[in-house]
């Protein structure tokens, strides 16, 4: 009996502790968010909210409220960021994957460059320049800032997706009489689509979560979800902040599920090449 105890149970103890810690690290903050989102009155030193209710949810989803407005802003900006990013990433990714461009690695790294500098410093200057062009505080300005950030991933993933398409399939289409454009539209693009979709979703999420650039370029006229979240927590309104965080979490989880379900491993494997 004690042998079984020692042989089976004891080795599991460190694992159980580790798993518990992991679960706490992931679900602890989540539980906290959930609690805050339904807490109407809650102050120290009480362990649980004193009054429960959905008042703040109602407040957030009020048709003309700040929260709905910023959610709207966030989604519109994210959609346009995706469109602009893909419009650049699809041709760029195709060219990088198919043409033997002499500066291939350099070009790929160039897209990474904006990420390499301290973002606050960069965006203060970008905001200044945009102000000169009348882009400060406009949707266009914010979309541009988001696009620059999303483009790295969009181009890299699109390049990987196009590289994963077997060149011989394109040659077979050409051999059967299809023009270059037709080959691209009927063979290359459909086969690269899962990767392109992944990059679209990725860019969407980046745009949704973007804070620094929006803060400097968009304020005061363009308020997105992360800005609302920031303002709410600055004002000590943890309920609104929690609900906003939960809303921002939804697309991320959806993306993980998509990746898990649809993205082929060979596309991901080629991201590194």
């Amino acid at each position: 009996m004690s042998n079984v105890w020692r042989g089976v149970v004891v080795p599991w103890i460190p694992r159980a502790i580790l798993l518990g810690l992991f679960a706490f690290a992931i679900f602890g903050p989540l539980a906290n968010l959930l609690l805050w989102s339904v807490a109407e009155v809650w102050y120290f030193p009480h362990k649980l909210p004193l009054e429960w209710g959905f008042d703040f949810w109602r407040q957030v989803f009020k048709p003309r409220g700040n929260a709905m407005l910023s959610l709207n802003n966030s989604i519109i900006i994210a959609i346009f960021t995706v469109i602009v990013s893909l419009a650049i990433a699809i041709p760029a990714g195709y060219a990088l994957a198919r043409r033997n461009l002499p500066w291939r690695s350099l070009i790929l790294i160039a897209f990474l460059l904006p990420q390499a500098f301290p973002s606050v410093a960069v965006y203060i200057n970008v905001a200044r320049i945009f102000y000169g062009f009348g882009l400060a505080g406009t949707y266009v300005g914010v979309v541009l800032v988001h696009t620059v950030q999303g483009l790295v991933f969009a181009v890299w993933i699109a390049t990987a997706a196009f590289s994963a398409v077997d060149r011989e399939l394109e040659e077979a289409a050409r051999n059967l009489g299809a023009s270059g454009l037709r080959t691209f539209m009927t063979i290359t693009l459909p086969l690269a689509l899962p990767g392109i979709m992944a990059s679209a979703i990725f860019v969407f999420l980046i745009s949704l979560d973007e804070f620094t650039g929006t803060f400097f370029v968009g304020v005061p006229d363009v308020v997105t979800m992360p800005l609302l979240l920031f303002n709410a927590s600055m004002e000590g309104n943890y309920q609104i902040a929690s609900i906003t965080s939960l809303l921002l979490l939804v697309p991320s989880v959806g993306f993980m599920l998509f990746i898990e379900r649809f993205l082929k491993a060979d596309v991901l494997a080629k991201v590194g090449n």
Binding site: E171, A172, R174, N175, L176, G177
Partner: protein
């Protein structure tokens, strides 16, 4: 509705294809008559696929001229050539059904939907896949995928049909059947076909003519029979069938034959021109006759190895001209290692070959023609 043939000839005139410093095809010239199946045969890397891609227009020649029928197509882009290729990987479009794959070429060339459907059906029927039109390629076996690739190429009724190692992805059992089917369709439709393989048995089985390639150039060209009976050099002799390459001496030649001494034996071999002096001779394993004991006529030999293979025996015989590899159909009276035997040669299967060195890695040999 039946398939009609637009078979055209293919002609290469001194065609060269270089990738930077690598010369993949080096001043190659040949003519393929309409309706013939010609095999490009050679070891891996000798330029077979590149030659095929030059015909299709997937590669452009660095130098020389390519004709299909009467037309100079050297500069014609791939989409404008009436040539269909069956890729080694089949290259089926994985996101399209069998029907869509086969109909793709018709669709892009603007054939009406109705007619395209009928012609696709006909092509699928020809390769025996009438019932599988709705399947996706991934749901087919390797052999079925290959047939779809053939149907997709046939349906356009091309002037020239190209096959790149069509059997290489099939298991051994299927190969013989598929190659017979390919040959049958080709002959029934009278298609001009260029067929690439590195397998000499396959080449002998399907071809009207064989072009043997070596180091980006043509080593020899001819009918299967001509290549087997009269290999031009030791490379061809060894590549098509097995051959013992031995040293001999040309004693003198007159007209169509030459007197040749091989070790202690003297033979009269067919030959067009041979200077007196040392020479190389290719001897087929089945052209060597063994008789038991050391008192018979012929060269003395000792059995080193004997292998029983059911319908024939294989021997390694030690002789004065070196070790000989022998294939002997007389399985009822096998010789054992150590036995003394007398060795004789049959005339058919013994060939005077042209190269002096017998070195298969040397400079490209001149074309045999």
């Amino acid at each position: 509705m039946t398939m009609t043939s637009h078979a055209a000839s293919v002609r290469f005139e001194n065609v060269t294809k270089a990738y930077g410093a690598v010369v993949a095809v080096d001043r190659v010239s040949f003519t393929i008559e309409p309706g013939q199946l010609v095999t490009l045969l050679g070891p891996s890397g000798c330029g077979k696929t590149t030659t095929l891609r030059l015909i299709a227009g997937l590669e452009m020649a660095t130098d020389g001229k390519i004709y299909i029928g009467e037309n100079d197509v050297t500069k014609l882009p791939v989409t404008d050539r009436d040539v269909s290729m069956v890729f080694q990987s089949y290259a089926l479009f994985p996101h399209m059904s069998v029907n869509e794959n086969v109909g793709y070429g018709l669709k892009v060339s603007g054939v009406k939907k109705r007619e395209a459907q009928e012609r696709s059906q006909e092509a699928l029927r020809l390769v025996g896949l009438s019932d599988l039109g709705e399947r996706m390629p991934a749901a087919l076996s390797g052999g079925q995928q290959q047939r779809v690739a053939v149907a997709r190429a046939l349906v356009l009724e091309p002037q020239v049909l190209l096959f790149d190692e069509p059997l290489s992805n099939l298991d051994a059992k299927l190969r013989r059947r598929v190659r017979e089917e390919v040959r049958e369709i080709q002959q029934n439709l009278g298609l001009t076909t260029v067929y690439v393989t590195h397998d000499q048995e396959e080449a002998l089985a399907v071809s009207d003519r064989i072009v043997v390639m070596k180091n980006a150039a043509i080593a020899q060209e001819g009918t299967p029979r001509e290549l087997y009976d009269n290999p031009a050099d030791s490379f061809v002799a060894d590549f098509i069938g097995d051959a013992n390459i031995v040293e001999g001496t040309v004693l003198g030649s007159g007209g169509e034959t030459a007197n040749v001494r091989i070790g202690s034996l003297e033979l009269e071999l067919p030959c067009r021109s041979a200077a007196a002096g040392p020479a190389k001779i290719a001897i087929r394993p089945e052209a060597i006759r063994l008789s038991a004991g050391d008192h018979g006529a012929g060269m003395r030999g000792t059995v080193r190895k004997a292998t029983y293979l059911g319908n024939h025996l294989e021997y390694t015989i030690e002789t004065e001209i070196g070790q000989l590899f022998v294939s002997d159909p007389h399985v009822e009276s096998p010789a054992a290692p150590g036995d003394a035997v007398a060795v004789q040669f049959e005339r058919r299967g013994v060939t005077l070959i042209s190269d002096q060195t017998g070195d298969t890695n040397g400079a490209p040999e001149p074309s045999a023609r």
